[in-house]
């Protein structure tokens, strides 16, 4: 039985060379030859500079761009720290958000939560809503919504803030993706943002609609996965066709 020991070491070393070195090297060689663009990360270059990857999401916050989904990768769309929220369906943190104290002792947002995301989504995109307390009460001196106050209000057990949109919110707009790097949003999410982008760029909704339609990918082979809009590609197309004046 002891004669079984040595072959174990020898075959493992051989496998390390064959499967651990030769196999990935050969695969890299073939891939770089056949699919160089994809094998290197589907990078998009503009004026000689890499500005992103077609299939890795990046953050957009300005009103003239379509916005991606909420992200839990690092501090948001960190492509070296892919992750989701890891919060379960009965997590108060997921639904109402949490705050924390920063180094200076100020209360800041720890996790925004679905309720707060709904508020922002409605306000940004002009979706009508009802609120148990007028949102004006949550604005700071410069007129911006104070997220910390809102999260506190959602977490107020005695009389929590109840905020109800009058049109249903597309589910992907207010939930975090698994990778935190989701490059896509649903077509419904793009539609809901369309009016905002059209107004800030001074173009008609119809013109934009066409562009969104062109950038909507149908399910693969007609049946696999879901219809989706690539946010980065759409925004780049926007800048080309309807540059902001």
């Amino acid at each position: 039985m002891w004669d079984q020991i040595l072959p174990g070491l020898r075959i493992k070393l051989f496998m390390t060379v064959l499967l651990g070195v030769a196999y990935p090297l050969a695969m890299t060689g073939i891939s770089q030859l056949l699919f160089p663009h994809k094998a290197n990360g589907s990078l998009i270059t503009q004026n000689g500079k890499v500005i992103g990857s077609e299939i890795i999401g990046q953050n957009f916050a300005k009103p003239e761009y379509f916005h991606p989904r909420p992200s839990s990768a690092g501090s948001g769309y960190d492509a070296t720290a892919s992750n989701g929220s890891q919060l379960g369906p009965t997590s108060a943190k997921l639904i109402r958000g949490t705050t924390k104290k920063d180094e200076k002792g100020n209360e800041v947002v720890d996790f925004d939560g679905i309720s707060l995301r709904i508020v922002h989504y409605c306000v940004e995109n002009g979706i009508l809503y009802e609120s148990s307390t007028p949102l004006e009460k949550f604005k700071d001196a410069s007129g911006n919504l104070d997220d910390v106050k809102l999260i506190r209000a959602f977490n107020d057990d005695k009389s929590p803030l109840v905020f109800t949109p009058k049109a249903p919110i597309p589910v992907d707009a207010v939930t975090g993706s698994a990778s935190g790097l989701d490059p896509h949003i649903s077509p419904a999410n793009a539609q809901a943002q369309l009016a905002r982008v059209a107004t800030t760029r001074g173009v008609s909704a119809d013109q934009l609609n066409q562009l969104v339609a062109q950038n909507t990918e149908q399910p693969d082979l007609g049946i696999l996965g879901e219809a989706r809009v690539n946010v980065l590609k759409l925004n780049l197309a926007l800048d080309v066709q309807f540059p902001k004046k």
Binding site: Q4, L6, P7, G8, L9, R10, I11, K12, L18, L19, P24, T28, I30, Q32, F35, K38, A39, N40, G41, L43, K49, V50, I51, E54, N59, K62, T80, A81, S82, N83, G84, S85, Q86, G88, P89, T90, S91, A92, K93, I95, I114, I118, P165, P170, V171, D172, S177, A178, S179, H184, I185, S186, N189, P219, I223, L224, G225, E226, R228, L236
Partner: protein
Amino acid sequence: MTSIGVLQIAIFFGLILLCAKPLGSFMARVFEGERTFLHPVLRWLEVLTYKVSGIKEDVEQRWTTYTAALLSFSIFGFLLTYVLQRAQGFLPLNPQHFGAGQVPPDLAFNTATSFVTNTNWQAYSGESTLSYLVQMAALAVQNFASAAAGMAVAVALIRGFARQEKKTVGNFWVDVTRATVYVLLPIAILGGLLYVSQGAIQNFKPYTELTTVEGAKQVIAQGPVASQEAIKQLGTNGGGFFNANSAHPFENPTPVSNLLAMFLIFVIPGALTYTFGKMVGDTRQGWAIFAAFSVMFLIGVFVCYHFEQAGNPIVANLGVQSTAGGGQPGGNMEGKEVRFGIASSALFATVTTDASCGAINGWHDSYTALGGLVPLFNMETGEVIFGGVGAGLYGILLYCILAVFIAGLMVGRTPEYLGKKIEQKEVKMAMLAVIATAFSILVFTALSSVISFPVKGYWNPAGLATANLGNSGPHGLSEILYAYSSGTGNNGSAFGGLTANTPWYDLTIGLAMWIGRFLFLIPLLAAAGSLAAKKKIPSTAGTFPTHGPLFVGLLVGTVLIVGALTFFPALSLGPIVEHFLMHSGKLFSAILTPHLFWS
């Protein structure tokens, strides 16, 4: 559920069914040493492996020697993986300059165990911990090796049933080499290239630093991903290159690559049922097992899909659309990717936990209570629904032994399976495997639920181990239960909210992996040895046929009842109670303990 969603499930299942016979009969020929169409191309590699490793191709082994070979193979795999991780700072292909600091001993132990046992639990985050060389030469090699070892054990057990009055069950080294050279490597090469064609990356570049359209800095992780991705799925390993695993767009870029991933996970386990039938000389026996697999798989996938599409009523009450339609997926999209939607995510979660894969394309921690129950229960059955490569087949054969034993008790006859009398020794070995895994899951879960640690201890931050949870309430119990089920079942997927990278969890989950792998394998190899020595008895009118629907029903019943009896109490305190609380709108706040990391 949408019709397109159901169709995706049907297409996937059709592909597996279609490949069972051709691949299954190919593998039967490979393991019986017959020539196949790949021999002209690859026979030299097989011979070279024997030569380099000092293996004699035509020597057969008894079950004890076979087990010794398996252990030697695994232990050297463990040592090499451990050393390569700890030494990564001194080795090439390390553009991000990771060192031993990223992989302290407890983490390196956990990861080496994890990959050698085909678990691929990841207490680390790939893109910020491991060099390209470690990913390739340590982890991907174990992906091949642990899968090949699983196939070898399955084949040895099949030989136990197929042979009579023999003392040997085959040669471990030969089985492992053939599995690698003729089955795993060719499919991995094809699969890897398909992955790249979809957008999975395959390069050795340093991470790409760039400025985004809005002017922010973004660093994009790179690496030889596709080559690892293919064997990760094919070998039902599941350890991702990146933290987000198969949800990461570089690992799983499109719905097509998603289908490819699931296909690679199930194709060998599905086909091995045919190999089994072929080798024992009655393909109907193989199809009966395939049928039992299919029944349990389809129940699981539709339960999971139903509850994920139904979504979270608490979120729906906030005004979020919960039904699919109007250009959005509806359902529970927290922790899921838009390109996959609900159906492809629920299907993936079921497939990856039916098999002992453990890759994820969405976070199971964020699944609804009962949607998340399906992956949890799948693992607790011992992953015998198609199951891991080889592991699924030897696992279900264990349940076959129990099923005929129960049938024998009911009618008062000595149980037989495939003409072999099932006697005291086989049943004892089967029960040993079942009890060892149940013990590992439940006892470790119980311990971690109550244990508390002193201040400045090594094992965990001070206080209760439950402080490592990312969710409180019943979902927290599910997180612990999931971790040990995943470790013991050699699955490797996670309810990722649990902070599992502390010495306490690294060590106990590592132990669970060893128990789940070897206290399952060795009893089965012992049973194989005793079965091979037995005479075959001719079947008579009184023999219970093991290829009909009655047996399939009995087998499914045995799996479900053993699983339910063992785990129902724990499951009812976790996901089941959470389901009802979710519908009454109850929320749980985070546990308010200081979050100290050990250092």
